[in-house]
Amino acid sequence: MEIGYMGDIQDRELISQITSFLGIKHIAVEKSISQLKEIENMSNLTLISRHTLKEGYDINNKNFKSKLNQIRFNYQYISVIANSADLLSRLVVDTRVDAFHINENSQIKFFNKKFCNRMEENNKLAEINLEGLYSNQISKNLKQILRIVELFNKSKVNYVISHFPKTEVELRSQKGIRALAEICGVASNKINNIHFLKRIELNNKKLAGVIPFEGVEII
């Protein structure tokens, strides 16, 4: 599984060859559900639509509710990159947000123990970006991530991990990503994509109207 493919899916043959070579069955792409319907029909590969909201570019303290209302029904999975305590504290209790993106700019003063507990209570995922390992300044890029991961390991927050490839050739196998995560200190028992798939399943039910609101399911 690749949970954050940032590239295009124009060369379908190449992608299906590479994914079958790597044993990847699910790819989360930065495209809406309607855009993915046009691309679908790729053999042995399930496409998942995801969106990343950046603080400052897409959302801020004032417009985040309206923005989430607009896009929630267009994507199966929504992740947020936020670096202000105020916005983070509001988003962590918002049911429309699935995960919090942790990259080299994330700071331990915001992703602290208290925040970690609130993530755990609200079933949010921690999305860890390992893109920093592919640069030449590994220590600089990983400093913050390593500290946050060390803190998160003590709690029950579940991780999703990716290096966010931008081309088809940058894709890596699930086992490979797991090996990268392990050298970053992520506990091996927490590296499991089942949480991600469960989340997608739940969101699909919400999108289909089977779960009209939290805690109620129409059978």
Binding site: M1, I18, N136, I138, V169, Q174, N192
Partner: protein, 114 residues
């Protein structure tokens, strides 16, 4: 009882895409390994690479450095090839052996997750 402090692990590496020479692969691996873990770890790992066919290689490391080399393999690769570790074994015989039963299992559980 004699206990070996360093037991070797053999990793089968498969390359997708352009062919890669043995010399270039060793150079890239050593360079990346020393960049991430340092020269001393590289010396301790006893890294050694053999070529099976044009796109199949065997990497030998000590069991203590197996996880590290698996991670480093993911970091190599420009935009022309993709490296994948297919199998890990304690003997070369174990890594080259591939029965039909194992083939079937690999087809069913291609993606190693859950």
């Amino acid at each position: 009882m004699v206990v070996k402090l360093h037991r070797y692990r053999y990793l089968k590496l498969e390359i997708y895409g352009n062919e890669l020479s043995l010399k270039l692969l060793i150079q890239t691996l050593r360079k990346k390994y020393s960049l991430v873990f340092g020269e001393i770890a590289l010396a301790k790992s006893a890294l050694h690479v053999l070529q099976l066919t044009s796109n199949n290689f065997i990497i030998r490391v000590t069991h203590l450095h197996r996880n590290q080399i698996e991670a480093v393999v993911q970091l190599i690769g420009d935009n022309t090839y993709i490296p994948v570790i297919r199998r890990v074994s304690g003997t070369i015989k174990g890594i080259t052996k591939k029965t039909e039963e194992q083939n079937i299992i690999m087809n069913i559980f291609g993606e190693e997750e859950e």
